[in-house]
Symmetry: D2
Subunit: 344 residues, 4 copies
């Protein structure tokens, strides 16, 4: 059994990790921590787990005093880095669900996150945890930086096109729409029901920090300079991201058949990527670890339109984290995943 701790229990990623790990046959949830609610049962914070997961919440300091194989950090950006720093001599594997080690360097981090980084060395150790691109490195890594939710959908939607050099890397537009859980569990005007429900808006225009995460990962696939226009929007839904991606082919022959072949080859070994024949909806993937992709060529405009849908809390966070853990422990990527798409 993989003795596992979840550090940070009060947010959505913490509770979603519990939901997924609960059914993993090789995992034992040894410890769940929370500074603000320590001493209370986990189910007091997330009452839907009453009778299922009633672990008493521990202070995070208990992690280092316990025999553990695996630690998930479900903490805010800027907080994780200190924990990772403290775990340098620990023997357990770590998946960090924050953005603290996703980028290429402390400098890039500080430019986009507007925050000092306290553990620059972590960038040397951390592997970007998108299994569809980096499974070999993840298998060998004890520190995985779990990707952002928007980047997961954008990168999976674009990787085959970029790597193959089919499209102009200087003109990539990612128009993404996300459910509100991406904004976190904290109550604030942005998450007030009446500001979200029956409503829709764009935000973070030009400056959202997932832009650089997408750019860096895609740039790793191809030498030419690459630039991404990324515009996030807020949907009146709980879960799910749909990215609508516009690219311009720079090769002669493009067709829906050729596109499909390209993606099929690229994702031949990716159990959680589903290539769809029709545009996916958010409910097609809700509660599951799937990324559903549809791509098509518009002859009239010479443009490729790609749609990528995920559940932001699963493939965009906790599910991907469990997938990474599976790789770290030499298990099949799909091990323990029993949550099928919930529709409706």
């Amino acid at each position: 059994m993989i003795k596992t701790a979840i550090v940070g229990a009060t947010g959505y990623t913490g509770s979603e990790l519990v939901r997924l790990l609960y059914n993993h046959p090789d995992v034992e949830i040894q410890m769940i921590t929370s500074e603000s609610r320590k001493g209370e049962p986990f189910s007091a914070v997330h009452p839907h787990f009453e009778g299922l997961v009633d672990h008493v919440l521990q202070p995070a300091s208990a992690v280092l005093e316990t025999e553990l194989d695996m630690v998930f950090l479900a903490l805010p950006h800027g907080v994780s880095m200190d924990y990772v720093k403290g775990y340098q001599s620990a023997k357990f594997n770590v998946v960090d669900l924050s953005g603290d080690f996703r980028l290429s360097s402390p400098e890039v981090y500080e430019a986009w996150y507007k925050k000092d980084h306290t553990h620059p060395k972590g960038f040397e150790d951390a592997v970007y945890g998108l299994p569809e691109l980096h499974s070999a490195a993840i298998e060998k890594s004890s520190l995985v930086a779990n990707p952002g939710c928007y980047p997961t959908s954008a990168i999976l939607g674009l990787a085959p096109l970029i790597e193959a050099g089919w499209v102009d890397p200087a003109h990539v537009i990612v128009d993404s729409k996300s459910g509100i859980t991406g904004a976190g569990i904290k109550a604030k005007p942005t998450t007030h029901y009446s500001n979200v429900s029956d409503n829709f808006k764009a935000y973070g225009l030009k400056s959202h920090r997932h832009t650089v995460e997408i750019q860096e990962q895609l740039s790793g696939l191809r030498p030419e300079p690459l630039q991404v226009q990324f515009t996030p929007h807020l949907l009146p839904v709980d879960r799910g991201i749909l990215s609508t991606i516009y690219t311009t082919p720079i090769r002669e022959e493009v067709s829906d058949q050729a596109l499909r072949k390209l993606y099929e080859d690229f994702y031949a070994d990716a159990p959680f990527v589903r290539l769809r024949k029709t545009p996916p909806t958010l409910k097609d993937v809700r509660s599951s670890n799937f990324c559903d992709i549809f791509t098509t060529y518009d002859e009239r405009t010479n443009r490729i339109i790609t749609l990528a849908a995920i559940d932001n809390l699963v493939k965009g966070a906790a599910g991907q984290a469990m997938q990474n853990m599976n790789l770290q422990f030499g298990l099949p990527e799909t091990r323990g995943f029993v949550s099928l798409p919930l529709n409706p």
Copy 2:
């Protein structure tokens, strides 16, 4: 392995059965049938199952030509009865998710369903499939009539009070609120998004046929005449029923503590009933087979208020059906249930 067929694949109960049975370690989904879509893959009807469950849909007639252990009937009221009739000499167990054999007699059926019954003999064989009340009978039965969604919440909320004789059985009010999936997958004005969303209404006042189902089941617990006022409402949510139940105590000593003790004793062996310390929400049970119950005494008014929450597609339909199948095959009631509450 229990070789299983699902008859009627196009509706929500059919698709939900597939979702739940998919992870049952002792079940093999041998066959899924649909008259209107036969020849197509199941995932053409429910695209979120693409790559997971692509069984080619069979005509229902194939059921009798196949070696099967278990048949779920996910058919409309008035249609199931003919199938049950046709299965009289079959060797498989049946759980019928329609209302055709839930009531006490063809006469009662015809009075409330306004429809002739073509298989009166079925009423002799059928057992009402609420495991919390009838597990022993279900274990021995090859024909289980799966309860209605509203009745499941109402009966589980009321059974301890009625059986113990604590409340006046002549004055029971059940004010229920249900998500729209209870109205079925068919597109009609009632299910049009803009008629449901940001909206709310009562319907079926005085005449909803679940009234008699609730009354009959509760009457079985206590000799005194019992009468239920049942008012259903339509919520702008996909899944879930919350019943708010008003009863008047007829014994001297009532208190929250005494109530809790009564319910705890009654449900001591019921793994899917959770007695909650605070009022449950629909998302506390969504996608799970739980019935969450909260009950409290109002001294000021001398009234007991009981809240019971279920997912109408799981504990109110497909989950309860799988629970019944487990009993029919001598398995633990909880066998194969891996879908935890999805919140948010």
Copy 3:
């Protein structure tokens, strides 16, 4: 022109008053106040008014330094009372939208609101502003206590039955369901999108302070002791309250026809009460000042079921306040109301 001030601009009732008064031909919005946002334009707080209502927000103290005919207090409970106290020698009329002067005495207030009352004398002056019951008194009053949202629906649904003595006043059940705007504009866990959306719950069981408001008003219609069981629920909708009301007739002859006649006579002069032939939905009244009522008799159970629907921000707050203002100034109740039901 009625020179008008709105005290308290940041909440929903403040913004809704502006929306309604904007089109009133006899009203000039002279001043809008806010302590927390003073100096900013009103449209900075409520951007949908950009270009329409850009008044610079004033401190509340400016009210007494300005020539005004009318002041609406859109303030929280416990805050209004001090303003009313300060306005005792003012010449303008006041409608207070808080709960501070709705009840019969400071003692009752303190028992249910768990708060000291700083202006007991106000109870002598204040008139309960439900025009359908108290129009004559409102016309003569310079201090109107605008009713609560739940009480508006409950009292209008029950008043004809109680006044006529048709039902047992000791056994009245009001099962109410409200949209989230009733919980206010402030971000808190209760109003977080993901706690509300696709969800439903009961709250405030046995103890909601609107209980006593309903009881006191109905008790004024009939000498017999009256007791109300009131259970509020939270709907995943922005606006609207539907109350489902259960009463037991204590007279011999009851029928749907007789009920309709009773209500028609009672509301003959009430322009905003619509007696419906079918159960109303929330969208039938959304954005309008209507209270839609449906009532029916269930012979089987000898019970009357009454449904009453309002928009909690209009008839349950700002619209009713404007209706009261019309009465205070000798205008027709309907004067200035141009906002029709918005459906969908």
Copy 4:
């Protein structure tokens, strides 16, 4: 008084016309027609108008037998054309809300609508009813083709940029998101609550017929060849369209200030266009005739992002139709508009 008929009462545009015209001081709703519901009161079809608009529905043939000044055609595409043909010698003005006369010729119509056109001559008479571009022509026209909902948002968002020649007309991307009322009142799988709620999808990729409408109108502003990539999406909201528009500047100097100036000048006389300082939300315009626009320049990518929000049933349909009627009758464009943004 303008004696007015609304032809086609059962859909959302018909009911929305009634809502808006009801408060127009110069309009008398003389007649409402419906073939399928004739003989019934309008409020039987749209119960929220009970007591407000109870006109008995007439057959459409009654239009030509009645003295009328104005006829609104709220009919499906392909049906309107025959009515317009039949009205050739009539004296009333017509605003056609269908797509039958929006395009430049029968040939274009037939190519994109896949339908024969029965009244080619109508294209000579019809004026495209976007008042912000064509007010002079609308004033003189007796046949106005009311724009599509998506085109209204897209064209208003793009017109200043295109007319000024600031951006590359060959590379325009319009990523639009619409509420479900755009799909009509008819119950079909697309409009089933559970397919829409908590969900999101793209549809009509590459082929939506609003593409050509946008292209043709923008092409009229500038000689260079213009091509639009238009991708519609379906939001889980009732009303509203937000278009996110990507263009590439082809002039040296672009800045947020310069963009604002360009738009301000272009829309100096447009009372319903609001230039916003922050990205608009759908609720900022809901129930109103506003088009809210936000535009910004991204130096990093050398791209302009423009957001345009409307209520698809008002500025995208019935409100724009009333605005056109005002122009046809020499009234101010804003005449009779009293419905402010409803938020929340």
